[in-house]
Symmetry: C2
Subunit: 229 residues, 2 copies
Amino acid sequence: MDDDHSILQKPLSQLIADQLKKKIWNKEIEFGERLLESDLAESFDVSRSTIREALKILEIEELVISKARKGTYVATFTEKDLDEIIELRTLIETTAFSKALPKIEACHFNALEKITKEMKIKAQAQDWKALFDLDVQFHRYVVDLCDNSRIIKIYDSLQVQIRTFLMHLDQYYSSFHSFYEEHQALLEALKTKDSSVVKEKVKNHIVYVEEKILGRKEVEDDKVIPNQK
Amino acid sequence: MDDDHSILQKPLSQLIADQLKKKIWNKEIEFGERLLESDLAESFDVSRSTIREALKILEIEELVISKARKGTYVATFTEKDLDEIIELRTLIETTAFSKALPKIEACHFNALEKITKEMKIKAQAQDWKALFDLDVQFHRYVVDLCDNSRIIKIYDSLQVQIRTFLMHLDQYYSSFHSFYEEHQALLEALKTKDSSVVKEKVKNHIVYVEEKILGRKEVEDDKVIPNQK
DNA sequence: TGTTTGTCGATTGTCGACAATGATTACCCT
DNA sequence: AGGGTAATCATTGTCGACAATCGACAAACA
C-alpha cells in the first residue's frame, strides 16, 4: 500500500528492512516464522540480493536469526529471553542514568518535563501507542546523556527487542494514569541528583513495567507464568 | 591455511570475514583504512557479493563500520573508545561474575585452577601469546556461567574489540609474573563466594589491565614486551 | 519390514553485469 | 582568474542467473 518508489535517499535494502520490521511489529509476520528469500523478493518486487541485505540488517538488530543454509527466522521470545532482557535493561539503564546524572542541566529537565506532561495528556486520552512512544523518548533522552556510545547502542538494541515483544502482546495490563505517575517519579528521582536514589528508582520502575505491563506477578524462583495461548 | 578450494562447510563469506579479521589483527590492514569492495574481491578472488556479505559479518562484530554509499572502513579506536570499552567491560564482567558465583561448583574451580597453573608455566616461559589466550579463556569460562546469553554476547563482542586493540599495540607493558598473580587473586576472590568481594576484585583487575597492559600509567619494574609482527 | 542409498526439488550461496549515486575534474561564464 | 556548473569517473547498490547444498521421498537391498 505504501509505495516507496519515490526518491530513495536510503538504500533500498534499508527500506525493506524497515518495512519488514513494521510487518513483524504488526504481527503480519509471526515469531519464529521462516523468512523465505524468494518469497520476500517477489512480494517486495526486488531482487533476492536486496532481500538478503535487508535480512542482514535485521540480523544486526537481532530481530531475526539466520543459520547457514537453513534459512532465516524471526527471533522468538521465550520467558527466558524476557528475563534476560529485563536483567540487562536494568543493568544498562541504571548505569546510563547514573552516568547521565552529572550532565543533566536545567534545559534537560525542561525537555523531560515536557515529555512527562505530554504523557499526562495522552494518558487522559487513553492513547496507549502515543504513551509508549513517549516512554521510549523519555528513557532514551536520559540514556543519550551517558556519554558512552556502546551503552547507548546496547540500550537501543534492547529497546527494539522490547518493542517487538510488546507489540506481540494481546493486551496490556497497565493503567494509563499510573504510567504517567511512574515517569513523574522517575523525573523527581533525577532531580535529587543522588545516584543511588536514581538507580533504585530505575530498578523499581523496570520491575513496575515488568509486572504491570507484562502482567507478571512477583518473580518467583520458578517461572509460573502462563504465557501460552 | 590460505587456499580454500578444499571442501567448504561454511559459507565462503564467513571464511573471508575470518581472514579479513586476521588481516586486521596482523596489522596488514590499518585502523580506519577504507575497504574497497572491488579490490577485496580481486585479492580474495571472489565476487563482490561475497565480499559484501563478509563485510556485513564484520559489521555485526563491530570491526568495521560502513556508511551508505560512502564505503566501509575498519573501525578506529580512540582513547574515548578505549574508555568506553573498559567501562562497559567492568560493568558486564562484574555482573557476569557475580551472577556466575552461585553456579560455580568444585569442578569449575578445578578447571579455573588448571588454567591458572598453565598461566604460571607460560609466565615462566615468557610466552605472551599463550598467556593472552589463557586470560581470555579464564574470563570467558566464568562469564559463560552467568546464564544470560545477551550478557555473554556483549562480553564476546567486547573481547573481540579488546583483542583488536591489543593486537595493534606496539608493545605490552606487563610483567609476566604479576599477570599470573592477578588471576590467582581473582580465583581466590571467587572462592570466597562473596559477591561484593568478587565485584571489587574484578573491577580492580580490569583497572590493573588498563594500567599495566596498555601502559596508561608508568610501571617501574616491568619489562617492555615488543609486539611481534 | 526396516534400513540404506540415490535422485529430485527447494532454497541458500555465489557470480558477473548493469544502474544509481558521490566525488573529481574540466570547462565556461562573468 | 575565480567560482560555479557540467561532464567523467570511481564506487556502491541492485539485479537476474547459475552453482552448491540440504531435506524429503522413493527405490533397492537385507
